[in-house]
């Protein structure tokens, strides 16, 4: 085989070639030092971009402002709607206004939501955001679960199972103690790509946990319970990615609650 086009080498590095083409390239690489060197260079360049290029991120408080600004613009109530708007926006606003009225009526007839549960969700989101704002994301930095778990036993009210899930692309980065529902919660910190996932664990106190994926201000929460410990994974990662982690953390046979 003659030397492949640079495009093909790139596609090979990106894992975008079908098996047959990939095999042909590998056959060629085994006998061509020039192409093998180009490949190493490409792989090094990729690794370096991933490690060193800035992933621009909004500060958590700016992000929260942006989300609330967005919702105000997306679902304007009748009162908040500016005076002069196009016909389309008028109907959009009118429809959401009517809906809000309907919802308000519903809220009067249905029992109020469990306020302790809502307060708990607020606590968890607050703790998650604070961990990102402050430098104190991690108290014990370790990817070794044998270091993190005993540390929890000393510092938190529970010592939940800790797993190193690097093989599943959820590397463990450390642990922390936080205050949730009046208890010293053990927080295992995982990463998913550029996202931080905080997994809170605290003794079950009977407060109802939200079911499925709960979302507030662009952050997602997935809660579950096992062995009298309440767990909650919080992150700005997609809900599906959180569910993926909770499935790995759950003991076999127990599934994270999904609606």
């Amino acid at each position: 085989m003659p030397c492949p086009e640079p495009t093909l080498l790139n596609a090979y590095v990106d894992g975008e070639l079908d098996a047959e083409s990939a095999l042909r390239i590998e056959g060629h690489l085994a006998s061509c030092g020039t192409c093998a060197a180009s490949l190493r260079e490409l792989a090094a360049e990729r690794a370096q971009i991933a490690a060193e290029a800035t992933y621009h991120r909004l500060a958590p408080e700016r992000r929260a402002e942006m989300v609330s600004h967005f919702w105000r613009a997306a679902e304007p109530s009748r009162r908040a709607r500016p005076a002069r708007t196009g016909a389309r926006q008028f109907w959009f606003g009118a429809a959401s206004g009517a809906l809000l009225t309907a919802l308000a009526a519903l809220a009067l007839t249905y029992p109020t939501p469990d306020t302790r549960s809502e307060a708990l969700v607020g606590d968890l989101i607050g703790a998650h955001v604070r961990s990102l704002l402050s430098e104190r994301l991690i108290d014990v930095a370790s990817s070794d679960r044998h270091t993190v778990k005993p540390w929890f036993a000393e510092h938190a009210d529970v010592s939940p199972p800790v797993a190193d899930l690097a093989d599943h692309n959820y590397p463990l980065v450390g642990g922390r103690v936080d205050y949730v529902d009046g208890r010293r919660a053990a927080v295992s910190v995982y990463r998913r790509g550029a996202h931080v996932i905080n997994v809170f664990a605290w003794p079950d106190s009977g407060v109802r946990l939200p079911r499925g994926i709960a979302s507030r201000s662009g952050y997602n929460l997935v809660c579950w319970q096992a062995s009298a410990i309440d767990f909650c994974a919080a992150s700005d990662a997609a809900g599906e990615e959180l569910l993926g982690l909770t499935r790995l953390l759950e003991p076999a046979g127990r599934q994270a609650p999904v609606e």
């Binding site: 086009e5 640079p6 495009t7 080498l9 790139n10 596609a11 990106d14 975008e16 260079e41 490409l42 090094a44 360049e45 990729r46 370096q48 971009i49 991933a50 060193e52 290029a53 800035t54 992933y55 621009h56 991120r57 909004l58 700016r62 992000r63 942006m66 989300v67 600004h69 967005f70 919702w71 613009a73 997306a74 679902e75 959009f92 429809a95 959401s96 809906l99 919802l103 790509g193 550029a194 996202h195 994926i213 979302s215 507030r216 662009g218 997602n220 700005d236 990662a237 997609a238 809900g239």
Partner: protein, 182 residues
């Protein structure tokens, strides 16, 4: 409506960082990036129930890109932001100097990161865009093709050229050291 809101919160808002990152790399300005993301979120929300393909992230990024392009068109008289490697002889900014004698390894790492960012910033928009989508957002070729409205073949060749161009710019930024990438 509330259900739509919930689904938007669960499926689209988690990609807010990705939307901002792309906008920030395209505009190279935090303020402009925020405006673009704000526009894109509204458009996305209003069209959320239309067909959006298998990846909500790629769909949202396509909207961000369109918002960016229409913003560029609005301010058309302004000079184009691109400075393609073929078009410019000299880089706009002087290359960063790396002091090899610096004993602080962390300081060197920070210096190099700035250089890589700088090099990425100097690429033409076309190149920067595919690199950000591939390396920072981890999109597949197919998804990049969806976001940029290009055929997959074009994505492949553009990405290959973009990486080559980045190597040239990056080597220049680090003073031409040959082992910069090893």
């Amino acid at each position: 409506m509330t259900d739509l809101r919930t689904r938007f919160e669960q499926e689209a808002l988690p990609h807010l960082d990705a939307a901002y990152n792309l906008a920030r790399w395209l505009t190279r300005s935090a303020a402009e990036a925020e405006d673009i993301v704000q526009d894109a979120l509204l458009l996305a929300f209003r069209n959320f129930d239309r067909q959006r393909g298998p990846s909500t992230k790629a769909w949202l990024l396509a909207i961000v890109r369109n918002c960016f392009l229409s913003q560029v068109r609005r301010s058309a008289p302004r000079a184009r932001l691109t400075d393609s490697i073929d078009a410019t002889g000299d880089a706009l900014t002087p290359p960063a100097l790396v002091s090899l004698a610096d004993p602080e390894r962390e300081a060197i790492a920070a210096e190099r990161a700035r250089s890589l960012d700088e090099a990425l910033g100097r690429l033409s928009e076309d190149y920067r865009e595919v690199l950000v989508l591939r390396e920072l957002e981890g999109l597949s070729y197919r998804e990049i093709a969806g976001v940029t409205a290009m055929p997959i073949g074009t994505v492949m060749s553009r990405l290959a050229r973009a990486r080559e161009s980045l190597r040239v710019h990056w080597l220049r930024a680090t003073g031409g050291s040959d082992d910069a990438l090893s």
